[in-house]
């Protein structure tokens, strides 16, 4: 393998101000990209991977036990009660669904907007989306009192001629989330095909050859394949784009359509979508910032990538902050004392600590991203991204629990406390998420090799490094 540094051809000077910062640093060659990205899979399993994987697997085990306990014994093992009929279950659901937003946004909307920087992060983000939606999907399923009958939410023809109730936002959820999951999964898999073929071609063991080969669906990289691929990719991107907006809008309808003060607000759909993107990017940062170092992929997931994501976090975080303020304004402006009380109670009631945790994490912490120095400091970015995750969990907790715990009739007011099962079920979903993510990064290329190659200077025929020039092709 030729060292790229030794065989660099002379490049004519381009005025500095016209030069775009390359998306892959150090003029890495296409071959280098293939080698380095697949090295995560083909290389020796690093110790940190085992450590993370085993911890995740144990958490998954605990979570599984909690779910088994819950289903076998009753929803009462959680801390739920009347009036707080939903608490950590739906908080976690919305939290994970929100995280699942970044992937499709990156892969679909940024694709349509020709944001080429997306190629370095979209594969991991999409995987994250799928795993997050899986984690999310667990909660609405297990939170119902009779899990074994949850399939009644599906519009299946049945002997009783009873259909689901199409007026219920929960039913819309079923459709929205399942559609989103299906399309995200297809989209992700579509993008994987050329890379799976690469993996197949590079495979040294029979079993890998067979498995990757099966996944690659006979991809040979012909023009026809590429042409079909591009068209399908574009179509799926178009299909996914409205879904990005719809899923969280519909999730927000669970609240907005009800008449609980603090839930019944028209601002919810856009506010939820902004929040979802915010939390999704927060999670992408939390995952990729350490991974780019651990997997030595700093040239592919560059500081510029991180910076761009920080800017998205800053923008969406500010939108969320605006929404928090606007909720208060409308509560006051509406003249509805029940509404006003709900919001006052959020900030100054028994759950004030949750509210101010949320505000600190979601409104204040992203504001640090105004500073370039902070955006480029990987340690700080990682810490702030964790804050975003914490804050967004609390946002859902605040919306759900503080609205329910004190609604119309003061006689019903109560204070919700989680049980250990609540906590460990949630932790267990992190176990599931990280287990799946660890498996993903170890067995599938976590960066879209083919797509990244497409945005390197080498792929640009007008670039001095591009085209079928000598030494440029690998």
């Amino acid at each position: 393998m030729a060292s790229p540094a030794t065989s660099l051809p002379a490049i004519p000077e381009v005025p500095r101000e016209l030069e775009r910062q390359p998306l892959v640093l150090n003029q890495r060659s296409l071959g280098w990209l293939s080698d380095h990205i697949t090295a995560v899979i083909e290389g020796k399993t690093p110790k940190w991977w085992w450590a993370t994987f085993l911890v995740s697997l144990s958490l998954l085990g605990i979570g599984t036990w909690c779910v088994a306990y819950l289903i076998s014994t009753g929803v009462g093992v959680w801390g739920l009660m009347i009036p707080v009929g939903w608490a950590w279950d739906i908080t976690n659901f919305v939290f994970w669904i929100g995280i699942g937003h970044a992937g499709t946004l990156i892969s679909a909307i940024l694709f349509l907007l020709r944001q080429k920087w997306r190629t370095s992060i979209n594969r991991a983000a999409e995987a994250m989306t799928i795993f997050a939606v899986m984690c999310a999907g667990i909660f609405p399923l297990i939170h119902v009192g009779r899990v074994w009958l949850a399939w009644w939410l599906l519009p299946l023809p049945n002997a009783n001629s009873i259909w689901p109730q199409f007026r219920s936002p929960l039913l819309w959820d079923v459709f929205a989330v399942s559609t989103y999951f299906t399309v995200s999964l297809l989209f992700w898999y579509m993008g994987l095909i050329p890379d799976l073929a690469t993996m197949r071609d590079r495979a040294k063991t029979k079993i890998r050859k067979i498995l990757y080969g099966l996944g690659a669906l006979g991809w040979i990289g012909s023009n026809r394949h590429w042409s079909n691929y591009e068209k399908a990719y574009l179509l799926l991107a178009g299909l996914s784009t409205p879904l990005v907006l719809s899923v969280h809008s519909i999730v927000s309808f669970d609240f907005a359509v009800s008449q609980v003060p603090g839930w019944h607000t028209t601002i919810f759909p856009p506010y939820f979508v902004a929040g979802a993107i915010f939390s999704g990017f927060g999670m992408v940062l939390s995952l990729l910032v350490p991974l780019r170092t651990l997997c030595r992929l700093e040239d592919v997931i560059t500081t510029r990538h991180v910076e761009l994501m920080c800017k998205v976090v800053l923008a969406t975080g500010s939108m969320v902050g605006y929404a928090y303020g606007m909720e208060f304004f409308i509560a006051w402006y509406s003249g509805n004392p029940y509404e006003l009380y709900a919001f006052k109670n959020r900030a100054f009631g028994p759950y004030y600590w949750a509210y101010w945790t949320m505000v600190t994490c979601n409104v204040i912490s992203p504001q640090f991203f105004w500073f370039k120095k902070i955006r480029r400091n990987m340690v700080l970015v990682f810490i702030l991204s964790i804050f975003v995750n914490i804050g967004m969990w609390f946002e859902r907790f605040v919306i759900i629990v503080t609205s329910l715990h004190r609604d119309y009739m003061p006689a019903n007011w109560a204070y919700f406390r989680p049980t250990w099962v609540d906590i460990w079920t949630f932790v267990g979903t992190f176990g599931l998420f990280m287990t799946l993510f660890m498996l993903f990064m170890r067995f599938l290329p976590m960066i879209a090799i083919a797509e990244v190659k497409g945005v390197t200077p080498h792929a640009d025929p007008h670039h001095p490094l591009g085209g079928a020039k000598e030494g440029g092709h690998h």
Binding site: G145, R146, W152, L170, S258, P410
Partner: protein, 1123 residues
């Protein structure tokens, strides 16, 4: 369904012969052989006389095998079919029997529903002249005691089980032994009773055993007024109160709602005297003087908060005002200083008001109060001409010796055999008598007891008592009416009644309780009454003529009263160093007799809302001076006796007065005690503090914080209404001037604020979206009758009206609902997690409980109760959010739950503004309280399903619940399904009763087509139980129905009606009737004031263009809103 009829076993093959020649001859030997083949009781078959008895026994015993249970999918039944169908018996159709619940010196007339031979619901007897069919809370709960698995089920001698016959032999040997020596050495200790049969037996026994000693003991003696009146009248009398005739009432530590005898009758009378038909009506006024915050204080228009020991001073001062020429009274008044903080003007004005209503006022003193207070009250009622008008005297039984006397003769060794009939003296006797030890001085103690409780351990002989629903007996209600206690089933465990034990000890010829009662009845009804008269007595549940004994003309002896007053001691006012302890009857477990009753344990106390505990209640000031808060454990010492209990700060309680409820802190031990439910409930046993000297009001107590704390499960955390117009109330004068104020109070009354806002025909803002319910109506009429009738019945539309002025918060409705609708109990842990299951609850709001309130408002709050249940909204928010259509609207306006369809998302509950939906977080009906958190995946789990058993021993895939579970199941109403875990449930408006009434009406209508159920034919369980008649249910389409009439009342309003849910339950605003001359009068009820201050609204003004009569109600207000 597998049915196995037991039959004599026969060989399947072989030639068929007659079984024997005996069979042909029908010899006694053959009959005996047949009998042996059958279960116990089947031998009754051959005795034609007792076939009725057989039916009762069989129904009880095969019900024990799980017959008739709903909720079990496929019960395996082993039943014996009727050889001959009993007359009037229709399988599955419940029957009603009149009976009565004896309660100390009085009784409550009842009608009890029997479902296939087992009593399943207790209701009041509305035919009875002094009843409206309401009951108190204890009567409702007493049903569960019948099926209590921990009740005494065996005859014991020295703690060892013996056969019933041996115990009966023992009774016979006592009879023989004492017949010889005229009863010397024989002592009886019984509880109060109004039973004429018992009185008759006692009289007979006194004649045959003149040397025997008779003593009575009641843990909480409610007959103080009677004792004092008897002394004054010179003959045994018992006062009876006609509260409905009183326009002015003054209660002195007299909690008629929860703590006094005959509470159901008193509540009925009180509510009747306060009922306002319209704004021109008049209502009574209640003054309450009390130390504890009670439901009576809640209902009062003026409440004076004084320590119980200072009530005497208040009574004396009042007496000095009303009867200034009574020297003894003046003397007592002069030496009793008024307690600190009491404005003399309060007493002066109250006295003036009472004096202005001579003959239509009443003064009542509580049973705890010393004789002097009762003497003052008797005198003052005389002065006010109330005797014969609102206070009547009935005949009573001569008093027996008290417990202290019995203790002294026991200690003197004069008692050879002590017969204890009922009661639990080891628990309840004054602590200084050390009853367990004292009782042991008798050679033999024989006891008839319902539980193997604390007293059980020291008894040589213990006989199980029959429940009143299993026993023949009789009683007198408060007004003296003679009522039967008629059994609905044979004693489940062969228990005996008091009458039978007395008759056997007396060696009488007639020992069958039925025959004893019949004999008494014959005497009552004049000579030998006919069978028809007896049948009518049992059918009606009372003997009509006996109520006439009321107007006893007695004269009270002034000199006797004077001597009582002169003997009265005056206690110094309590202080933080010298506290007063009020040991009171509990509103749930009574004196401890309902300790093992889960319904009662889980019933929230009307004021504190505490379940499964008692607490040391004290005022905010006392708490802050001691430095304790809710849940802190304190040590209370009185006369060297100490208890430890948690503190509960009770707004409205007198300063330096501690309230301690009895009946808690009981244990279940190897030698007896409470049952499993009551075991360890409550930290302290208040009886341990009560001595002969202290009585129920102890002074000189000390309190000390232990530094520990204790978790108390309360069902309502938040006491303030936060200025929200949820309960609407006004003073009588304001109501008269502005009758429609209640509809002028919530957000809907602001609609007119926008000029030119389009309004609909009812004067409400026009909707952007049509109310779906209305849309159905219009669409129905467009398409034709068919659609209309499918979507909305034009025969019945059900609705309910609750009068907040009448409701006194007695909580009888809560238990009635629990009993009718098979509502499970969940246990203290679940209640503390806010998972109680009651379908109807009583919300209790304190005015001034918000942080901004002035301290005097916290100390002297106004309290309001609001029964809250599913409002059956026409446009129900729960329905539209259920993803599986499990909660839907029916054609008659009910919001119904399809339990089978519910998957348990709980979204309906979240979206319910009233939070009246209840969720089965666990399998409450299948697992005991301790097993809630045990998973069937683990071993050691006892329940319906167990993984280990299912895997290893598939044939035992469900562990068989023990007999106790089976027994408890018998209490269930077969018309209501038992809910499994994971489903939502809520008030159904007693849909089973509605359907029953519709079926009956349809049968009656036949071809005539008149299927409309007449008004009053459907009575919901809560309405039925309500002694105050505060709840009215009926058909809104019938303009003449009571509920339609009430919904036209100006006071009618819907809670949160601005949400446009259109609740079918509406409330009548509460009206208070304060006396403007009183020093504590307020311009407005405090909650209304808080609403007016915080919402900047005045319901007495037509603000923002809305006027009175607007807003939502059952009536389309003509006056509209656009002005």
């Amino acid at each position: 369904m597998k049915k196995t009829a037991p039959s004599p076993s026969e060989r399947a093959t072989g030639p068929a012969y007659w079984r024997s020649l005996d069979q042909l001859a029908d010899t006694p030997e053959f009959r005996e052989w047949v009998e042996r083949e059958f279960p116990e009781g089947a031998s009754e078959f051959s005795d034609p006389v007792s076939r009725r008895h057989f039916v009762k026994i069989m129904s009880a015993s095969f019900l024990l095998a799980g017959f008739g249970l709903t909720g079990c999918r496929r019960p395996e039944e082993t039943i014996l079919p009727f050889a001959e169908q009993p007359e009037h018996y229709v399988h599955g159709v419940a029957q009603q029997f009149a009976t009565a619940m004896p309660d100390r010196a009085t009784a409550l007339p009842l009608v009890v529903r029997s479902s296939d031979g087992r009593p399943t619901k207790i209701e009041g007897n509305r035919l009875h002249p002094d009843s409206n069919g309401g009951t108190d809370v204890f009567a409702q709960a007493s049903l569960l005691d019948l099926y209590d698995p921990d009740r005494a089920q065996r005859f014991t001698r020295g703690g060892n089980t013996v056969r019933r016959e041996e115990a009966l032999d023992q009774l016979r040997s006592i009879a023989t032994k004492f017949a010889a020596n005229k009863g010397k050495g024989l002592a009886f200790l019984s509880a109060h009773s109004s039973s004429p049969s018992r009185a008759r037996l006692e009289k007979a026994l006194r004649e045959t055993l003149p040397e025997a000693r008779w003593h009575q003991h009641e843990a909480v003696d409610l007959e103080t007024a009677g004792h004092v009146a008897s002394r004054l009248a010179g003959r045994p009398v018992r006062p009876h109160y006609k509260l409905e005739k009183a326009k002015r009432l003054l209660t002195l530590d007299f909690d008629f709602v929860g703590a006094e005898a005959d509470s159901a009758t008193l509540i009925r009378g009180f509510a009747a005297g306060r009922r306002l038909q319209d704004s021109h009506g008049d209502m009574s006024r209640l003054y309450a003087v009390e130390s504890l915050m009670t439901s009576t204080g809640v209902s009062a228009d003026h409440r004076l908060r004084v320590p119980s020991s200072a009530v005497q001073a208040v009574a004396a001062a009042l007496g000095a005002q009303l009867a200034p020429d009574n020297a003894a009274l003046s003397e007592l008044a002069s030496r009793s200083p008024l307690p600190g903080g009491v404005d003399r003007k309060w007493i002066v004005e109250c006295a003036r008001d009472l004096a202005a209503h001579k003959g239509e006022s009443i003064i009542l003193a509580g049973h705890r109060q010393p004789p002097a207070v009762h003497a003052i009250v008797a005198l003052l009622n005389d002065v006010l001409n109330n005797r014969g008008a609102t206070v009547l005297y009935t005949d009573s039984v001569p008093p027996a010796g008290d417990l202290a006397e019995l203790a002294s003769i026991l200690k003197a060794g004069q008692v050879d055999t002590l017969v204890v009939l009922g009661g639990n003296p080891v628990l309840t006797a004054p602590a200084d008598l050390q009853w367990a030890e004292t009782q042991g001085k008798a050679k033999t103690v024989l006891r008839l007891g319902y539980y193997e409780d604390e007293t059980f351990a020291g008894c040589q002989w213990h006989l199980p008592a029959a429940h009143y629903l299993e026993s023949w007996g009789d009683a007198r209600t408060g007004d003296g009416t003679y009522v039967p206690v008629q059994p609905l089933l044979a004693p489940l465990f062969g228990g005996l009644t008091e009458l039978e034990v007395l008759a056997r000890i007396g060696g009488l010829d007639v020992t069958r309780p039925h025959d004893i009662v019949r004999e008494t009845f014959n005497g009552m009804a004049g000579g030998s009454a006919s069978d028809n008269a007896w049948k009518k007595f049992l059918h009606d549940g009372f003997l009509a003529e006996t109520g006439g004994r009321l107007a006893l003309n007695v004269s009270l002896d002034g000199s006797e009263a004077a001597s009582i007053l002169r003997a009265a001691t005056v206690a110094p006012g309590p202080s933080v160093e010298n506290l007063e302890v009020v040991i009171h009857r509990d509103l749930k477990v009574d004196d401890g007799r309902y300790s093992n009753n889960g319904w009662m344990q889980e019933l929230p106390d009307p004021l504190t809302k505490i379940t499964w505990d008692n607490a040391v209640t004290l005022s905010r000031k006392t708490a802050s001076e001691i430095g304790v808060k809710n849940g802190d454990v304190v040590e209370v010492t009185l006369d060297g006796r100490t208890i430890e209990g948690p503190v509960w700060v009770q707004p409205g309680q007198a300063d330096y007065s501690l309230g301690l409820a009895v009946g808690y802190g009981r244990q279940r031990t190897a030698t007896g005690g409470t049952g499993r439910v009551g075991h360890g409930v409550g930290l302290f046993n208040a009886y341990a503090l009560r001595t002969t000297r202290s009585g129920s009001i102890g002074t000189g107590a000390k309190i000390r914080s232990t530094g520990r704390s204790y978790k108390i499960a309360s069902t309502q955390d938040h006491g303030s209404m936060e200025g929200r117009p949820i309960v609407r109330e006004a003073n009588l004068d304001d109501y008269k001037a502005h009758p429609g104020f209640a509809r002028n109070m919530d957000l809907e009354s602001h609609y007119g604020a926008i000029p030119g806002f389009p309004l609909d025909a009812e004067g409400r803002p026009k909707k952007i979206y049509e109310n779906p319910y209305h849309a159905y109506e219009t669409r129905g009429s467009q398409v034709g009758v068919t659609l209309d009738t499918i979507i909305k019945s034009d025969v019945h539309q059900w609705g309910m009206s609750i009068d907040l002025s009448a409701c006194v918060g007695c909580t009888a409705c809560v238990v009635a609902c629990q009993s009718e609708n098979n509502i499970p109990i969940v246990g203290k842990d679940q209640v503390s997690r806010d998972r109680e299951m009651h379908w109807i609850r009583i919300d209790r709001y304190f005015s001034g409980a918000s942080e901004k309130a002035a301290p005097e408002q916290i100390d002297d709050p106004q309290v309001i109760n609001q029964p809250m249940l599913c409002q059956h909204c026409e446009d129900a928010p729960c329905e539209s959010v259920c993803p599986v259509n499990a909660t839907v609207h029916d054609a008659e306006g009910l919001n119904v739950m399809a339990y089978n369809r519910c998957v348990g998302t709980r979204y309906c509950s979240n979206n319910c503004p009233y939070k009246v939906r209840r969720f089965n977080f666990f399998d409450y009906n299948k697992h005991s309280v301790e097993d809630r958190y045990k998973t069937p995946l683990a071993t050691g789990h006892k329940g319906s399903w167990n993984l280990v058993n299912w895997f290893r021993r598939p044939e035992e895939h469900h562990t068989v619940p023990d007999d106790q579970w089976e027994l408890l199941k018998l209490v269930r109403n077969p018309s209501v399904s038992v809910r499994m875990r994971g489903v939502m449930e809520k008030c159904t408006f007693c849909v089973q009763r509605i359907e029953q009434a519709k079926i009956t009406q349809k049968n009656k209508a036949g071809q005539s087509g008149d299927v409309q159920v007449p008004d009053g034919a459907v009575v919901t369980a809560c309405q039925q139980a309500c002694p105050a008649d505060a709840i009215v249910f009926g058909n809104l389409l019938d303009p003449e129905s009571r509920v339609s009439q009430l919904k036209k009342n100006e006071r009618d309003y819907g809670v949160l009606a601005f949400l446009d849910n259109r609740p079918r339950v509406t409330y009548l605003a509460r009206i208070r009737n304060p006396n403007p001359a009183m020093p504590d009068v307020r311009d407005n009820p405090l909650n209304l004031q808080e609403y007016m201050d915080s919402q900047h609204a005045n319901p007495f003004e037509a603000h923002h263009g809305a006027v009175e009569g607007g807003g939502h109600g059952g009536q389309a207000a003509g006056k509209g809103g656009a002005h």
